[in-house]
Amino acid sequence: MSEYIIKNGHVFDPVQGINGDKKDIAIKDGKIVDKVGSGAKVIDASGKTVMAGAVEIHAHIAGPKVNLGRIYRPEDKLFSCTPTKGMERMGGGASIPTTFKTGYEYAKMGYTTAMEAAMPPMFARHVHEEIRDTPIIDEGAFPVFGNNWFVLEYLKNHEIENTAAYIAWLLRVTKGYAVKVVNPGGTEAWAWGLNCLSVNDPVPYFDITPAEIVKGLLEANEYLGLPHSMHIHPNNLGNPGCYQTTLDTLALAEGMKAKNKFGRESVMHLTHVQFHSYKGTNWGDFESGAKEITDYVNKNKNITIDTGNVTLDETTTMTADGPFEHHLTGLNNLKWANCDVELETAAGVVPYIYSPNISVCAIQWAIGLEIPLMMKDPMRCYITTDHPNAGPFTRYPRVIKWLMSKKARDTQINAFKHKDKVLSQTSIGSLDKELSLYELAQMTRAGPAKCLGLGGICGGLKPGMDADVAVYNFNPDKPVANPDDIETAFSRCAHVFKSGVEVVKNGEIVGTGNKRTLWVNVKVNDNPQVMRDINEKFIKYYSMTQANYEALGHHFVPNPYALEVDATHV
């Protein structure tokens, strides 16, 4: 493999504590190394910003509900198609891009790893086929567990060992990466036309509460010692007053400690916090609860969050929170698609327009920015748009602009139709903080990598780590003349290396790299009861056999990278 040396760039690497120093980064055989030979290809990065490849912790980029969105929104591709160009295959779609466009767009912004945030286990094969067809970026997928019949039955009796054995089995057969929970119990209740809007609402038939599900899955996650913490989209998303449910959910992790060999310190990752930080009793007195939420998270070190920034675009919402999507179509009267996944989960899809002329959307925008600006530890708060729910991931450069420039925020606030409401219902106007490049690298690289248990592999530029490197046309020595320059710089990288292969040069795709599928292989003690339960459920309830369930072999996972976990000792 080629050797490279990236010279004289301003390096920002929280993993090594490097804060803008001029430093050379050497690449050899796909890894960051101390030095390379004189024959190494020189990349001149003087006057530029150098960071590790960014890590996406939560996005909906592959699988049946993403594809449902693509199928039922042909208008999303209207005027957004890009023809074949050089190495790039054709692509299309604004909020739900094709797989190829997804890979290219992430890479051009300097992202080299991304996690699909909700994989219905039964459709793992579909998820992996799309991951396979998404070029360049390493990807993993989180199977959903929060409404799964096995989990509900085991946790009703607090059977942690059985739950853990089932998780290990499911991660193996679906080639999954982590334990994802979406509206615990609520999506199953949706099958009865109901929902769980608090952590204490019982799930019909199963007679278990969301609190019991969450607590049990937290324990099972640490029992196994998985690389990532339990990753939760809590109950009561998007409703005024929901911040209380969020605090109740966060409290379930109190006193828990992470147990794993991957360097992860958190036990609960609460995702797209913006959607879960609403105060008020209705859309009229709707206000920000960002302070209450960040106060709690700042104090409790075993919690990590991601933001879920509203980008003020037309987009496509999609979630395994089936009842929420039904609620949303009733609010905006736009087309709704719903899908039930037998014993496991469900999903809904509804288009949504975050209009700067609607006060609720503008307040949501402000809350999404308040959260990262109020967080004291950037290593525990990561930038996402919950793509495509709060906006497309292609808007990250714009979110970065808003976070790095108070002037850019003020410009947007002044452009809102209901500016006064935004200022009275949130504290965005009084937040002067501007994110530094070091904090940005913590929120988009070192932080999410550590939280995913990938801290030793990616998210940093330490010798021995994967050579995922992004070089931006951004000179930290020069004052920013116009905030839009930040957006431009972070939209298209000067260079991107993925595992030591140059994949982007001057904003264009020049290589497709060596894309891998990340998954977690857990060894547990033999558990005949769980294996018998699985066999029985497949015979009695599933519409497919186990032979058609497993995602295996070259077709589904052509280039796997398994993180090995041995949980047989417990």
Binding site: Y72, R73, P74, E75, D76, L78, N333, L334, K335, P351
Partner: protein
């Protein structure tokens, strides 16, 4: 106003996509520069000059530019797409998407136009002297935003699904129309001087349909609401008034429910 005449000389073997043929696309260009504008034939990109003979230079802006399209353009799509100002005359018949997404200016088609003419039109005027195809002034596939402004006049007949998801503007058809008129619409007006078939105003939230001729089958979601005298296009007549679609959601204005209106000349 400057006039550019483009005349089909070398007809394409496949259908031609000519979305650059608009006053906006031509503005500020000489005949030679216009000949270099791109068109797509199947999956090949080539130039307008390969198919058309171009004479005359465009005005400085779209508003100062008139385009006359001559020759057989039955296999040419997207003529006048997204035009915002100026004038365009198509001497013969054209294929799909004539004047689609247009926001202003005047577009006259002397022959027939195929389906999706004036898709999601926002403003301006489209006159079709012949017949219009299906989905006239409708929303793009999957979209919920149809024609929202401007005026369409069809002197002949129109096809099915006209004004689907319409939210504003006016469509006038002097002849007959096929099934489905203003399905899902939330505003706007469609006047049909001739006869209609069925499914008028299905799932209509708001908007007005006026029919001078016959309605083959009324939808059951429409409720008789007396008779009214209306003056439509300078003609005063008595109309039977229906409100609906009763099966659809409706907005409220000052406490009263706003229904869609269907008028049929008695």
């Amino acid at each position: 106003m400057e006039t550019v005449t483009i005349t089909m000389k070398n007809p394409p073997a496949l259908y031609l996509e000519a979305d650059n043929v608009t006053p906006d696309g031509f503005a500020g260009k000489t005949a030679a520069q216009i000949a270099e504008l791109s068109v797509h034939e199947g999956n090949t990109t080539s130039t307008l000059g390969k198919y058309f003979e171009i004479s005359g230079n465009a005005g400085a802006t779209a508003a100062d530019t008139k385009i006359v399209v001559k020759g057989d353009v039955k296999k040419v799509k997207y003529l006048g797409m997204k035009m915002s100002a100026g004038e365009m005359v198509i001497e013969g018949s054209a294929d799909l998407y004539v004047g689609a997404w247009m926001t202003g200016g005047k577009l006259l088609a002397k022959g027939n136009v195929e389906a999706f003419a004036a898709t999601a039109m926002k403003g301006g005027e489209l006159i079709v002297e012949g017949n219009a195809g299906n989905y006239l002034g409708a929303a793009y596939r999957g979209d919920w935003r149809g024609m929202s402004g401007g005026k369409i006049l069809v002197k002949g007949n129109a096809g099915s699904d006209i004004g689907m998801y319409m939210t504003g503007g006016e469509i006038v058809v002097n002849g007959n129309v096929d099934v489905h008129v203003m399905t899902h619409a939330e505003g706007g007006k469609t006047i049909i001087k001739g006869n209609t078939k069925s499914k008028l105003g299905g799932q209509l939230v708001d908007g007005t349909i006026i029919v001078f001729g016959t309605i083959e089958t009324m939808l059951p979601g429409y409720k008789p609401n007396g008779e009214v005298e209306l003056e439509v296009d300078g003609v005063k007549a008595l109309f039977a008034h229906y409100i609906g679609d009763m099966g659809e959601r409706h907005k409220k204005k000052k406490g009263a429910i706003v229904y869609g209106n269907l008028y049929k000349k008695i």
